[in-house]
Amino acid sequence: MTSQSRKRPFWTIERRDAVAGYAFIAPQLIGTLVFVLFPLALVFWYSLHEWNVLANSFNFVGDANYQQLLRDPSLPKVLTASAVFSAGLVVLNMSLALLLAILLDQKLRGMVIFRTLFFSPVVVSLVAWTIVWSFLLQNNGGINGFLQMFGVTGPNWLRNPETAMLSVIVVQVFKNVGLNMILFLAALQGVPKELYEAARVDGASPFKQFRRITVPMISPTILLTSIITIVGSLQVFAQIAVLTQGGPGVSTTVLVYYLYQQAFQFHFFGYGSTLSILLFLIVAVLTFAQWQLRKRIVFYEN
């Protein structure tokens, strides 16, 4: 019996394993192709068309919708609103999450209760949460009633262009900051205690310990949560729909809400698709930029 004379069966271990691999990924892959990538191609196709629903017409118009995008007087305001919302949300969310995580990381009794309470809005239905806040934020609602007790007359939160955006951001921050808080807390607890002990022996102040040890050690978590938070912030819809309907003016009309209006309220599916392409490009560029950033600045243990 030599190796030359032995015939290898077709179904070798590797081949069988490869088939298993394809079978395992098939549902996810096919699903992603059908429900994500194919629709993305369709969005692009639609964006090249003028599409009148009631009259049932669908005409190729080339880049006309993209021309409209450049001329749309509302679009700069919408993009500004989106940028303000995302930036405000990320900054507030991340810093509050970090603050809460550091507080919860202290050696105190009852931290589990505090952690549970801070996290609780995450599991409250988003629309329920937003409806409650929409009531609290009314001019004659709970917040101003509360302020009144201290003799302060609060602004008309949702009707004032300056405070409307702030309100939407803050409502969203309180809703979801618990998620990032937990991730930060896990990261903080993963920092080896010896590092702090070594730093204390070296005479580093608590602030310096935070800046030179804590932040670098949890930087991967900071980066990943910020990616998720930013991409998530671009998808904000229910909060806007319930709290401000994009107003006052267009001050809280973020891109997704504008897209929804154009496509499903005004039935401009062609232009709505063009806005979708814009949204996709923004998400893609932001994600890519952050991954690049990750390579540069994030500290790694290995």
Partner: protein, 423 residues
């Protein structure tokens, strides 16, 4: 193990398919089911419609009608979405604001011939004023089943407590005009309660303000709908008064204050008379129903309309039109009239209306309902209304602040909506 896996997967499969199966219904072969979208989920309304449908079934045993209530807020959006999806209902209620969109689109089936051919229908009984909005080139495309005048409900308890004159007193004195109405409202507002609420306006549905500005002879756009008239003098004057009433005199609740007149803490509200059903039955207050006050341009009335049309593209369009003719014939119109003020001259008399509106006094029916329907202007509408509504809404937001420059704010409205109107 494999048994267990099979069990698990079949449970998963069943839970996937079961609830979805509920969405579909199997029909008998030659049966026709007509679907009508409506925006009322009121059980009394539904019971009446079911009764009418049952009546139709007596002569057309194979036809049944289902009424599909859609949420009012997103009614037109949902309806248009269904049409866009190639799944239009057979019949649909249509709001006056979007009448132009539907009548002009060619999506609706023409009704005039079918109605005239129906025995005992008497289309001429329906007032022309009411059908104007739903007619194109002499052809009726939807029947105005509800022509509901805007009027003022007053809470005399609240008004008197604030030392304000009630509308009845003002009418008696021949002084029922906006100056005095706002003065009464301001007195209530400054007493800590709410003066006057334009119901459903909520600083979003600005077209409801037509119930005020029509008194100044103002309108949002020209008669042909091509040019913006927010900047013309009547509108500027009307808006200046409204702005002052809100921000200086506290006669009306400010933006972001949600007030319900029927909770009993408000002096007056402008709304359609069909809202009388919301009057509280327990702890009732001394209420009154009066016509809109006179404006600088004289006496006027405003009505909200709702039409019902049949879609031309559906496979059962003919049957749908037939049903529509049945539903809106003289006999059934009388039934509809108990909830929806009718547009038929024969029903527009005090006796007929009193029978169906026991809450209202004969005088209220006469002054508010009959005169209102007879002389009322319909709320503004336009093709492409959704986008225009939103654009104006966004523009007007700059007006709803205490220190707004009214002409400038209105100018900005025209700047943004003008190009849309001109299209």
């Amino acid at each position: 193990m494999s048994k267990c896996t099979t069990l698990k997967s079949s449970v998963a499969l069943a839970s996937l398919t079961l609830p979805l199966a509920w969405g579909g219904t199997a029909w008998a072969q030659d049966a026709i089911n007509l679907r009508m979208t409506i925006w009322s989920a009121n059980e009394a309304h539904l019971a009446m419609f079911d009764e009418i449908a049952a009546g139709f079934k007596e002569t057309h045993p194979n036809v049944s009608v289902t009424f599909e209530p859609l949420p009012f807020d997103s009614y037109t959006t949902t309806l248009t979405t269904q049409i866009a999806g190639g799944n239009p209902p057979d019949l649909a209620w249509i709001l006056e604001t979007t009448a132009a969109d539907f009548v002009n689109s060619g999506a609706l089936a023409p009704l005039t011939e079918a109605f005239t051919a129906t025995e005992g229908y008497d289309l001429s009984d329906v007032t022309e004023q009411a059908t104007a909005l739903w007619t194109k080139d002499g052809q009726l495309y939807a029947y105005p089943f509800s022509t509901s005048p805007f009027a003022i409900f007053a809470n005399n308890d609240v008004l008197k407590a604030a030392g304000a004159k009630t509308p009845a007193e003002l009418i008696e004195a021949g002084e029922w005009n906006w100056d005095n109405a706002f003065a009464s409202a301001a007195a209530v507002g400054q007493s800590g309660k709410t003066g006057l609420v334009v119901r459903d306006f909520k600083y979003q549905t600005w077209q409801n303000l037509a119930s005020i500005w029509n008194g100044w002879g103002a309108s949002p756009w020209s008669a042909d709908g091509k040019s913006c008239t927010f900047t013309e003098q009547p509108m500027v004057d009307a808006m200046t008064v409204i702005h002052k009433a809100i921000f200086t005199d506290k006669a009306m609740p400010g933006p972001g204050e949600d007030i319900d007149f029927f909770a009993g803490e408000t002096g007056m509200t402008i709304t359609q008379i069909s809202r009388a059903s919301l009057l509280p039955k327990e702890n009732p207050f001394d209420w009154d129903l009066v016509p809109l006050p006179a404006g600088p341009a004289g006496e006027y009335a405003v009505v909200g309309q709702a039409g019902v049309g049949a879609f031309a593209a559906g496979p059962n369009a003919e049957t749908a039109v037939e049903f529509l003719a049945y539903m809106t014939n003289a006999e059934n119109s009388a039934k509809l009239a108990q909830f929806f003020p009718p547009a038929r001259a024969s029903l527009l008399n005090t006796e007929a209306l009193a029978a169906t509106n026991p809450l209202l006094s004969p005088e209220q029916i006469e002054t508010v309902v009959i005169e209102g329907i007879a002389s009322g202007t319909v709320l503004p509408g336009h093709t492409n209304f959704a986008q225009i509504q939103q654009t104006v809404r966004a523009g007007l937001d700059s007006l709803w602040v205490a220190d707004a420059d009214v002409p400038a704010a209105l100018q900005s409205v025209c700047d943004s909506v003008g190009p849309l109107l001109a299209r």
